[in-house]
């Protein structure tokens, strides 16, 4: 029975590692990290790969050792005397502090670099501002228009019935008149975007796996992130913060376009306002 357990643990450990190494689930389903289309994502991916390597080795070794000890010490002969682990507890404690401690410190420090690369750097002066508003259960986006100014928001004017999703007063606010409100987000490729985030109602989140950007919307707080997309294509923006019954369907599309396509798109959207 014990030997069976040892074998089972080994098999489970190996089978568990296979999809991680091959990034594939039977049936040719990809289960790896989605492709990276951002400039800052490479540090995150490296950090992830390093952690996976270290964690994977720890995982396999400790499961194998567990299995080996179960195999070896489960059927003692009647005369056997228990033996002490050479080195004793002190050795293990020191090993844990040294090995795991170093590992933690290294991961922590390098991880901090990847984190700081996103959050501790200011957006470039010429970055393009886009505003996003989250609400049950859709994202809406606002572009400042030719005047490059966002008009003020009036919560009491918000009306989904009249498609005034942001609560703009286009009759009185000069800056709002040329603002362009859209339901999908288009951005030019290789241009830094400064995304200004606020929530209309509850907690939501802005997650684009390919963009390596994940940030919650906090009602009452204006947050911002900045990023540069490097690959033209259509991606999904999903909400990851439980926000009610339509949470699963709260999404928008992100279209990364060439500058020319983007300009045409913006013109077309402006005409629809």
């Amino acid at each position: 029975m014990a030997k069976l357990l040892a074998v089972t643990i080994v098999i489970i450990a190996i089978l568990s590692a296979i999809p991680i190494i091959t990034h594939t689930w039977p049936g040719n389903i990809s289960v790896g990290l989605p492709q990276d289309i951002s400039t800052h994502g490479v540090l995150i991916d490296e950090q992830y790969a390093d952690t996976m390597l270290e964690a994977g080795i720890c995982f396999l070794i400790s499961q194998f050792v567990l299995a080996y000890f179960i195999w070896k010490f489960s059927q003692p002969k009647p005369g056997d005397k228990p033996r002490r682990f050479p080195g004793g507890a002190a050795g293990l404690v020191i090993a844990a502090f040294l090995l795991v401690g170093t590992e933690c410190l290294a991961l922590g420090v390098f991880g901090a670099k990847a984190w700081g690369n996103i959050y501790f750097t200011p957006p470039a002066a010429d970055s393009m501002p886009v505003q996003v508003q989250a609400g049950q259960f859709a994202f809406y986006f606002r572009y400042p228009g030719p005047d490059r100014k966002f008009g003020p928001l009036h919560a009491n004017l918000i009306s989904e019935a009249n498609a005034n999703f942001f609560g703009l007063d286009t009759t009185n606010d000069q800056d709002s008149k040329d603002d362009i409100v859209t339901a999908e987000m288009a951005i030019p490729v290789n241009r830094e975007i400064h995304l200004l985030m606020h929530s209309k109602d509850l907690g939501h989140s802005f997650f684009v796996p390919e963009l390596r950007i994940h940030q919650d919307f906090v009602p009452g707080l204006d947050l911002s992130v900045h990023f540069t997309a490097t690959k033209i294509g259509k991606y999904e923006i999903v909400c990851t913060q439980l926000c009610g019954l339509g949470h699963y369907n709260m999404k928008a599309y992100l279209e990364v376009m060439s500058q020319g396509d983007y300009d045409a798109w913006l013109k077309q959207q402006a005409a629809l306002q």
């Binding site: 228990p82 991961l107 984190w115 919560a155």
Partner: protein, 594 residues
């Protein structure tokens, strides 16, 4: 200290049925009541998870009879999005609070902590009785929310504000459902605070003669540390849910910011803080993970030592490590909020303690492995589950490396990776602790043995089954699969549905295997073979030196006197391969605590 136990608790054995079995002051009866409640709760929680899994695997599948549960939630047996979330929330709440906290901590702890410390009972038996009944009322209130007009709350077990604080305008179940949820959790906190108070006092003041703190078995230490954590954690959650109730019914705005608009209606709230709820909740929530886990660690260590026939490599190091886990668990809670809008510097500040918490966890695993080395391992259902615990604890713990780092958390936050991580390290590990403890202590609690072959079948199905369920969760998470989605309509999630189907099948199988356990438990309770003696596993701690089942005051006429460390196995020169704590037989060992 030693004198207290002789006269601190004096309540005579009850004679009426009600005082004996219902409103009992006896810690053993209360422990069994907790276990019974957890058993009912876990069955409900498991059935909920089956329904959820079926829906996730085959979204359009009508589950026959589902409309009987809720006509509005499942019209024509088709599950609505809100009903999925409601079941999910109830699954989480029931499992975390009423199963994982009660079964290993308050159920086994109530029964065995006084016995392992050599006490006659807990110091405040009335508080102990109230602890159960208040907790049980909490459970009833939570169940009642299934029957209010728009069903239970859908906000998830974390109940993030403002979704939970603005009333039914934010969704079905967000009015009365949330209020009942909050009342239930508030009651639960009160119950656990009473319990913790008793546990701490029992450990500190009720030990019998000769029982120094270091002579307490590891399970007793785990319960003691857990109860200290409970005091801190539940004392924060309780005011948090009270504020939440006020936001809901009294029009206050503790957690709701100004100028929020839902359904084109400007909410009347203003000036509250969204993040306040998250801070309060996770200040409780992270220690709660260890409250669920530590008793399992203690039970498993206790079972392992008995099965290995040798003491742990170091009793002290294990205790100190569990203690550091408890302390650190309060300093890491912010890792639940890396992308929640905290100052990004705080994310780093919470990241380092989270990474550091792997050190005591690693030490615990290494001590277990080091103790296994050179042991004379006996394979029983109890020890199988204890060994399985080590395996799942390693698997679940290692994924913590990823979630501890804010940069990687960008990719993994709120995905199935997190779900896989906490299910393995907290839920499955704690369940293995419960199973191990049940197989181990059943003979002492009921005077009968459980069926070993059935227990082993149960172990194999559960061990393989849980890995089949929870390992694929990690892969889904890496691929970006968001949790708490009732259907996968996104283009990049649809290809992953076959993985979900595999998990569903595994979950149904593993769940069904638990019925073997249930059968074994009930059958053995009434028809199992009578325990051959008071000490069927040849254990050394105090619970094995008293009668089976223990009498009302645990010890009969003669209070125990302790001479040794808890785990004197394979002692050189001893008559048998173990010396019980109460045995005056001398031990000549360098390790013996003074």
């Amino acid at each position: 200290m030693h004198d207290m136990s002789a006269h601190a608790v004096h309540h005579g054995a009850p004679t009426s049925f009600i005082r004996k079995h219902i409103f009992s002051l006896d810690h053993k009866v209360i422990g069994k009541q907790y276990y019974g409640m957890a058993l009912i709760a876990v069955l409900v929680g498991m059935v909920l998870s089956w329904i959820m899994r079926l829906h996730l695997g085959w979204g359009n599948l009508a589950i026959p009879g589902l409309h009987l549960l809720s006509k509005a939630g499942a019209p024509g047996d088709v599950m609505t999005p809100e009903y999925y979330l409601q079941l999910m929330t109830m699954h989480g709440t029931i499992m975390v609070f009423f199963v994982l906290t009660t079964a290993p901590f308050t159920a086994f702890g109530n029964y065995f902590l006084p016995i392992q410390t050599g006490a006659e009972d807990m110091p405040f038996p009335h508080f102990n009785m109230m602890s159960f009944w208040v907790t049980f009322s909490g459970f009833i209130v939570l169940m009642a929310s299934f029957f209010v007009s728009d069903g239970p709350t859908l906000g998830g077990w974390t109940q993030y504000a403002p979704l939970s604080a603005v009333g039914s305008v934010s969704g079905p179940g967000q009015g009365w459902g949330v209020v009942l949820w909050a009342i239930s959790i508030g009651l639960f906190c009160v119950g656990q605070l009473f319990g913790s108070l008793n546990f701490i006092t029992t450990t500190l003041d009720m030990r019998c003669k000769g029982m120094s703190l270091m002579r307490l078995p590891l399970s007793a230490w785990a319960w003691f540390i857990t109860s200290v954590m409970g005091l801190g954690a539940f004392a924060v959650l309780m005011p948090a849910v009270i504020l939440l109730i006020l936001d809901q019914v009294a029009g206050t705005s503790f957690f709701v910011a100004s100028n929020l608009v839902i359904n084109d209606q400007l909410l009347p709230h203003s000036g509250g803080s969204t993040l306040l709820w998250q801070h309060l909740f996770w200040f409780f929530g992270h220690p709660e993970v260890y409250i669920a886990l530590l008793p399992g660690m203690g039970i498993v260590s206790h079972v392992l030592v008995t099965s290995m026939r040798k003491p742990m490599l170091s009793h002290r190091v294990l205790i100190y490590s569990m203690g550091s886990l408890a302390v650190l668990s309060y300093m890491v809670y912010g890792h639940h909020m890396f992308v929640a809008g905290m100052n990004p510097i705080s994310s780093l500040a919470f990241s380092f303690p989270t990474l550091i918490i792997t050190i005591p966890s690693t030490i615990i695993v290494l001590i277990w492995l080091g103790s296994l080395y050179g042991s004379k391992l006996r394979i029983t259902s109890a020890s199988l589950f204890a060994l399985g615990f080590i395996s799942v604890f390693i698997s679940g713990g290692i994924s913590g490396f990823f979630l501890a780092q804010p940069s990687i958390d960008i990719m993994l936050h709120a995905t199935y990776f997190v779900v896989g991580h906490f299910h393995l390290v907290m839920a499955v590990a704690a369940m293995f602790g419960i199973f191990s403890g049940t197989y181990f202590w059943f003979p002492k609690m009921f005077g009968r043995m459980m069926n070993e072959p059935l227990g082993k079948i149960h172990f194999w199905c559960t061990f393989v089954g849980t890995y089949c369920i929870f390992m694929p969760f990690h892969y889904l998470g890496i691929a970006g699969n968001i949790r708490r989605y009732q259907a996968f309509t996104d283009d990049y999630l649809m290809p992953l549905i076959p993985v979900h189907r595999f998990i569903t099948v595994a979950a149904l199988f593993t769940g069904a295997a638990q019925l073997i356990f249930l059968y074994n438990l009930i059958y053995s309770r009434f028809k199992g073979p009578v325990a051959p003696n008071d000490n069927p596993w040849e254990g050394t701690s105090l619970e094995w030196s008293t009668a089976t089942p223990p009498p009302h005051n645990n010890w009969g006429d003669k209070m125990p006197v302790v001479y040794h460390d808890p785990y004197q196995y394979s002692v050189e020169g001893a008559k048998e391969d173990y010396i019980m704590q109460t045995s005056p037989e001398p031990v000549h060992s360098a390790d013996e605590e003074k």
